[in-house]
């Protein structure tokens, strides 16, 4: 047991707990019994709060432990996280402000709300909502993986169900203050999380390389390690076969990120269009941090860091690489701060994700199918309960099922959420696609994506299914036809699936238009997409209906 670390960690954890409960009163509106307040913090966050909130939401604890772990294990391919988070902002800059405006005019809380308004189809909205919930759930579970990596590094590495007890306690606390304070809790805690993360990473990337002979030496060590392995895809540079995978994974991930309901929650909670635009300029500060952090995977190679064995599964957990590196090379008080940064870093996104999933459930399933005339207060109550269910579902996932399963599911989740691109992102610009085209495209992209993922074995051949998202073009088959037979070039499955999705959507749209099938009613007006905070067309926050 590492007592100094544990004491520092506990102190900071206690601090954010108090803040989480206090947050209910912070910038309080008239009532918390409305989704605008509980689920979107009153739709009034300014540039600074939004920066901390969205940054704390997108750059999760799992990212902070998994990306360096990937670089540690495979080298250059793990660095895709940097291009991913750099091209992200220019891509979403324009669509996000449109989404904010139309949501502000009509009071939309979720992406599925928008789809329903745009196409007048609650079935299409239901598909989008379910995709969002299913894709978000394993993402929440992964935050627990990040948190647990830290807890186990501090010596809380028990075996069996009891080994998960510290994790369980941390999550009960999180669940309680999220229940009470809603989105304001992660918004307030995000300040602590991000400041700690910045401090830790900056110290780490300045201090650690010098300790191991500088970057030149570190990269030479890494190259020597990768040369010694039998795998042909690792190395400090990309190979001829994984460059396409690198680029398509970065692009696909960037397109997918703001389709996740939790990313959109932070955007819809902001005050106005300029807040979002300023954030698109300022958020890459986190990308820089993530890139530097990724390089710590190489530092861990030079330092000879060994992943610790998870007593619950009996396997070495590479996600403990960064905590172990910090633990071995920093004084214990600073390692405690670093662990707290990662641990609290898990709480912020977990809270936002559970709120986003709860919003989807409440707005697009509960209110649509179970209780059509629910009042805003009943909606808020339902969402609070749903957020509890979602969080304990995630804990159960980690405790009773192999964590590896969450990692696989998260991979699948990325491919899944990408299939909502035509219905959510493209619909912001044009209503050219027909409802049936969108539905057919979704089924095609989803089915094909799952089929391709199912057939990807791990590199060491130990696991036959769902072992990665890199597909060799040779294996790409359409009803038995192999268009790229013999090619070892790899591509991101999500990119293949979304292309098929779009093709099917176009064909079915053309047929549906030719046969004059009814295409739903559009509630939105073209001018809705440009409305700003000072307009008298915005819907009042927490309006009765």
């Amino acid at each position: 047991m590492q007592w100094t670390e544990l004491v520092v960690f506990s102190f900071l954890f206690l601090l954010v707990t108090v803040m989480g409960f206090f947050a209910a009163r912070w910038q309080r509106g008239d009532t918390l019994d409305h989704l605008d307040e509980w689920g979107l913090g009153g739709r009034k966050f300014g540039s600074w709060i939004t920066w901390f909130l969205v940054g704390g939401d997108l750059y999760t604890a799992y990212t902070f432990v998994a990306v360096p772990a990937l670089v540690f294990g495979a080298g250059a391919t793990g660095f895709f996280a940097l291009p991913y988070t750099v091209i992200l902002y220019p891509i979403v800059f324009l669509p996000l402000v449109r989404m904010w405006s139309v949501s502000r005019v009509h009071g939309y809380v979720t992406p599925a709300d928008f789809v329903k308004g745009r196409y007048g189809s609650h079935w299409l909205a239901l598909i989008i909502a379910i995709t969002g919930i299913v894709a978000t759930m394993p993402y929440i579970a992964l935050q627990l993986v990040g948190l647990e990596a830290v807890l186990r590094s501090m010596g809380l590495n028990g075996s069996g169900i009891l080994g998960h007890a510290p994790l369980f306690v941390a999550f009960v606390i999180l669940a309680l203050y999220t229940y009470q304070s809603g989105l304001r809790a992660p918004a307030l805690i995000a300040f602590v999380k991000d400041i700690l993360i910045y401090a830790v990473i900056l110290v780490a990337v300045i201090y650690l390389p010098s300790k191991f002979g500088g970057w030149g030496e570190i990269f030479n060590d890494a190259q020597a390690k990768f040369d010694a392995t039998p795998s042909k895809t690792d190395g400090i540079l990309l190979t001829a076969n994984n460059q396409l995978q690198y680029a398509t994974l970065a692009l696909g991930s960037a397109l997918a990120l703001f389709l996740y309901p939790h990313s959109l929650t932070g955007i819809l909670a902001s005050r106005g269009r300029n807040v979002i635009k300023r954030n698109m300029v300022a958020l890459p500060a986190y990308s820089l941090l993530l890139g530097l952090l990724a390089l710590l995977g190489y530092v861990a190679i030079s330092a000879g860091t060994k992943p610790i064995v998870n007593q619950a599964t009996g396997r070495p957990d590479t996600n403990t690489i960064v905590p172990e590196l910090f633990g071995a090379n920093f004084p214990s008080w600073f390692a405690g701060i670093a662990f707290a940064a990662i641990g609290i870093g898990a709480l912020v996104p977990a809270a936002i994700m559970s709120i986003a999933a709860a919003n989807l459930w409440t707005r697009n399933v509960y209110k649509e199918y179970i209780r059509k005339h629910a009042t805003p207060a009943q909606e808020a109550k339902q969402a609070k309960l749903a957020s509890l269910v979602v969080k304990f579902g995630a804990v159960a996932f980690i405790v009773f099922i192999d964590p590896q399963f969450s990692i696989d599911l998260q991979l699948i989740g990325g491919v899944m959420i990408l299939q909502t691109l035509p219905s959510v992102a493209i619909a912001l610009y044009t209503r050219w696609f027909h409802i049936w085209g969108l539905v057919a495209g979704w089924f095609a992209g989803m089915g094909y994506g799952m089929y391709l993922l199912y057939n990807i074995p791990s590199a060491d051949g130990k696991r036959p299914h769902f072992a990665g998202s890199a597909l060799a073009l040779d294996k790409l088959s359409l009803f038995g036809w192999h268009p790229f037979s013999g090619s070892a070039t790899q591509i991101y499955v999500g990119a293949v699936a979304v292309v098929l999705n779009l093709l099917v959507a176009v064909v079915v749209t053309l047929i549906a238009k030719r046969t004059h099938v009814f295409n739903g009613t559009d509630q939105t007006d073209p001018s809705d997409y440009h409305v700003d905070e000072d307009s008298d067309r915005v819907k009042p926050v927490a309006a009765p209906h």
């Binding site: 250059a76 660095f79 940097l82 291009p83 750099v86 091209i87 902002y89 220019p90 891509i91 800059f93 324009l94 005019v105 390389p209 500088g214 970057w215 030149g216 030496e217 570190i218 990269f219 400090i236 540079l237 990309l238 460059q243 690198y246 680029a247 970065a250 692009l251 300029n274 635009k277 300023r278 698109m280 300029v281 890459p284 990308s287 820089l288 890139g291 390089l295 610009y429 007006d525 073209p526 001018s527 997409y529 440009h530 409305v531 700003d532 307009s535 008298d536 067309r537």
Partner: protein
């Protein structure tokens, strides 16, 4: 009723495509020249962080003052205002 245009375009928006150039991996998949010991592959991509910020920042600043309804500022009819109030 005549509708305001659904899309607003500024030529500055083209700048948003520039960061996508970092997806062309054959341009930078090299070890040399190194900078502070970092292979070219890594520091080249780090350079794109400020490039991305600059591009998005320029688009933000240059398109900030565009009126919501371009070219016909005061023609918002009473009906439109009523629609917003409902």
């Amino acid at each position: 009723m005549d509708r305001t245009r659904s899309l607003r375009w500024s030529n500055w928006n083209v700048l948003l495509l520039v960061p996508l150039l970092m997806l062309i991996t054959p341009w930078f998949n090299f070890d040399q020249p190194r900078l502070f010991g970092l292979p070219f592959f890594y520091w080249y991509q780090f350079v794109f962080v400020p490039v991305g910020v600059l591009c998005v920042g320029l688009v933000y600043v240059k398109t900030k003052d565009e009126p919501a309804v371009k070219g016909k500022p005061d023609k918002l009819g009473v009906d439109d205002l009523d629609e917003g109030a409902k």
